[in-house]
């Protein structure tokens, strides 16, 4: 007899056990990050008849063919790509919002308005010491807010640089981790639970790297190892087999902008042009920050030269030539040079030598010059530019977040665990196990029947 009822029942029970184990594994990992649902593929064990045994019954039960990992590489690639875009937009908006807060909430605009207002008020009574003191104090506030805006911009830039440094370290750590996974994958047996766990790890690491930079992953169809290129499909290799290449970052000392390079397999380095991931977002935010800072410095410089130019052209309350109101350069270096209100040169040069002149000619010239160079208008334009950029990027971010979210949901729907399904499987395999047990019972009954013949 070529088939054995007892061993057929035993193989069925064993297969059901494995299927139950896999189901239990699925249930317990229902919310594990990066876990892909497994299923068991069973195959019949039987042999076709040979010479002389044609028509023979030759059945040997069932075996576990392979553990199937229900991952869709296309959806995974979509999750990585859209995730990188969303991470870039997120990082850029976060950086830009910091820039916006730095300039908007420092109150520079309000302080400039008040300074111009106090100059206008001084026209009413150019010799009033209280109005002069008011101008000096408003100028002091304005200098303070310019300093605050500049400091806040610098600190926003430093935060972005610090986070980018951390991001580069993370990418390198993850790439090394992925290199180790690659090595183990090349040695793992096909279609085992060991390999599926490594594949899960591989996909999870790839997804984590893609949050920092846009990566292109090419998966070897034989052993499941991955080759990763950074900065798109034509970019340099970040990872090839068991070797990871170091990504490094340089900060421009004056502008504070970022540039990335990667070590080449042949030695030397190559520049990386990242268009996705949080590193690219931070680089874009820093480029905008540099632009904003230079425009803020330009405004501060133009304001100082306008006021100082008018100051030195006139005569102050004591009838001597006016001295500059501000000193230093740039928004951060701006300081108040005059602390006594009597030093404000309201009178024209013709009043030199005449203390206490009520002639507001030079003050009017100053106000005229300020109205022409219009620093408040420039500040309004700068604020509008920043907030407009933030508002526009926010729309982009919402769109990209929605796209990334639906890509994630679509992957999760396909690769995630459905508990109802698993509950059904649990019953199904439990019943299969019980049925196989019954088969073994039947084999024993048959044996007993045969033995009982006398």
């Amino acid at each position: 007899m070529a088939s054995d009822l007892l061993s057929i029942g035993a193989s069925g029970a064993q297969a059901a056990r494995v299927a139950l184990d896999v189901t239990a594994q699925n249930i317990s990992n229902a919310s594990s990050e990066g876990y892909v649902r497994r299923s068991v593929r069973l195959a019949e064990v039987s042999s076709s008849g040979g010479i002389g045994t044609i028509g023979d019954v030759s059945l040997s039960g069932v075996r576990v063919d392979r553990v199937v990992r229900n991952a869709d590489q296309f959806r995974q690639a979509e999750v990585r790509r859209t995730g990188a875009d969303a991470a870039r937009a997120d990082a850029e908006v976060a950086g830009l919002e910091n820039i916006e807060s730095a300039v908007d909430q420092s109150g520079v605009y309000d302080a400039m308005v008040r300074f111009q207002g106090s100059l206008q008020q001084l026209v009413g009574d150019p010799t009033s010491t209280s109005l002069r003191a008011n101008v000096i104090e408003d100028a002091r506030t304005m200098v303070g807010t310019f300093n605050i805006a500049s400091t806040a911009l610098t600190s926003a830039g430093q935060t972005l640089q610090f986070e980018a440094t951390d991001g580069v370290n993370q990418v390198n750590t993850l790439a090394q981790e992925l290199a180790r996974v690659n090595l183990r994958l090349s040695r793992a047996a096909d279609a085992t639970s060991d390999q599926t766990a490594l594949l899960d790890q591989r996909d999870s690491l790839l997804q984590q790297i893609s949050a920092y930079s846009d990566v292109n992953a090419q998966i070897n169809s034989v052993d499941g190892t991955v080759t990763v290129r950074i900065g798109g499909s034509s970019g340099e290799k970040l990872l090839d087999g068991g070797s990871a290449y170091a990504l490094s970052m340089a900060v421009d000392p004056t502008a504070g902008t970022l540039s990335f390079t990667i070590a080449m397999p042949t030695g030397g380095t190559a520049p990386v042009s990242a268009t996705g991931g949080s590193l690219a977002g931070k680089a874009q935010a820093l480029a905008k920050l540099d632009d904003v800072r230079s425009r803020l410095n330009g405004l501060a410089d133009s304001l100082m030269s306008t006021v100082n130019g008018a100051q030195t052209a006139g005569a102050d309350l004591n009838g001597v030539a006016g001295t500059p109101l501000f000193s230093g350069s740039g928004a951060g270096g701006m300081t108040l040079a005059l602390s006594n209100g009597a030093g404000i040169a309201t009178a024209p040069a013709s009043a030199l030598g005449t203390p206490g002149s009520r002639d507001a000619g030079n003050l009017n010239n100053l106000r005229q010059a300020l109205a022409t160079s219009n620093p408040t208008g420039g500040m309004d334009a700068l604020l509008f530019d920043i907030s407009g950029t933030v508002a526009g990027r926010k729309v982009t971010r919402e769109a990209l977040a929605t796209i990334a979210g639906s890509a994630r949901v679509s992957l999760a729907a396909q690769a995630g665990v459905d508990l109802d399904n698993e509950a059904a499987n649990l019953i199904r395999y439990q019943q299969a196990f019980q049925a196989s047990g019954r088969v073994m019972q039947t084999a024993k009954d048959i044996f007993d029947t045969l033995v009982a013949i006398r």
Binding site: A30, S31, R37, S39, N70, E97, E100, S101, D104, Q105, Y109, D110, V113, R114, Q116, G117, Q120, Q121, V123, G124, D125, P126, T127, S128, T354, P355, G356, S357, R358, D359, A360, T376, D380, L383, F384, I386, S387, G388, V390, A391, K394, G405, R408, V409, S410, A412, A413, Q414, A415, G416, V417, D418, L419, D420, N421, A423, A424, L426, I427
Partner: protein, 307 residues
């Protein structure tokens, strides 16, 4: 075996996305309701934020224009008061000169009248050197000191202020000159030569006190001079009156504009309470329904039915 049903993680992921988005919408609406401001930061609506900044600038400038207008109004009222006093003194002087021109007057009587006129001149000098609200010479233009005094170069007594006072800005490029200079008020032309009230009073007072035949002629000249001075002062009063009317006009206009700005600020940056509350209610209804259905669906597990 492939699954076409929704996996658990996908269900939770989707629910989290939907609930979080609804919650943040509700929070934004709530913030705008409680602050009364539609914009929490400039990037919420850059165009509106820029408009609000310009409106705030205009408000600030308008507040200072208001102060300047009040200052100008005070100075003009002071000027007006001084002009009335000048007019009274001129009227009194004319009365006295008319008496002195009478041929029946004795030299002694004319000398007495002359002394009174000299006293009037002293009062006029004090009045001409009176101060404005800020403590400067009211009729002295931009002079740092008095309006009338001894000229340091010529040594003669006369106007030592500057030619014109400072003009005060009233906003929108409009200005007002809140004072008149001494020559504008007290200067006049009589008999083809230009003089001023102080010189005329001095001439008249001295001539009357000196007595003689010239005194009566001087008194007659004095009447003519006082007539001219009255004309000059009346003209100045008209100027002051029209400037005060101009101030009233610009103040009305400023109030109108500031009301319009407040309206616009409210439209651009304020919260429309009715629609915001309605939208908040709508969002809350949807959020509550989503939460309830989430709880129901999440509790719907086959495991609960297996015993």
């Amino acid at each position: 075996m492939t699954s076409i049903s929704t996996s658990n993680s996908a269900f939770y992921e989707r629910s989290i996305m939907d609930l979080a988005s609804l919650r943040s919408q509700a929070q934004d609406l709530q913030t705008s309701l409680s602050s009364g401001q539609r914009l929490a930061r400039s990037s919420d609506d850059p165009v509106a934020a820029s408009r609000l900044r310009q409106l705030a600038l205009a408000d600030n400038v308008s507040g200072i224009d208001e102060v300047n207008a009040q200052r100008a109004s005070t100075d003009l009222q002071l000027t007006d008061g001084a002009l009335s006093s000048f007019a009274d003194y001129v009227a009194r002087t004319k009365e006295l000169a008319t008496q002195a021109a009478n041929g029946t007057m004795t030299d002694a009587q004319r000398a007495g009248i002359g002394q009174e006129i000299s006293a009037i001149r002293d009062n006029v000098i004090q009045l001409a050197n009176s101060r404005n609200a800020a403590g400067g010479a009211l009729f002295g233009g931009q002079s740092a000191g008095d309006a009338y005094g001894t000229d340091p170069t010529t040594g003669l007594y006369g106007y030592i202020g500057t030619a014109s006072p400072n003009a005060l800005p009233l906003g929108d490029g409009q200005t007002v000159t809140p004072a008149l200079t001494g020559p504008q008020v007290l200067g006049f032309t009589v008999g083809g030569s230009s003089t001023d009230l102080l010189a005329a009073l001095k001439t008249l007072g001295d001539a009357l006190q000196a007595g003689g035949a010239a005194a009566q002629a001087a008194a007659k000249d004095g009447i003519a001079a006082m007539n001219a001075a009255t004309d000059s002062i009346t003209t100045a009063q008209t100027v002051v009156g029209s400037r005060m009317a101009w101030l009233d006009l610009t103040t009305t206009r400023r109030t109108d504009l500031s009301q319009m700005r407040a309206d616009e600020e409210n439209t651009v940056g304020g919260t429309d309470a009715a629609s915001t509350i309605a939208r908040l209610q709508q969002t809350m209804t949807v959020l509550e329904a989503s939460q309830a259905s989430f709880v129901k669906l999440a509790g719907l597990s086959l495991f609960n039915l297996l015993n």
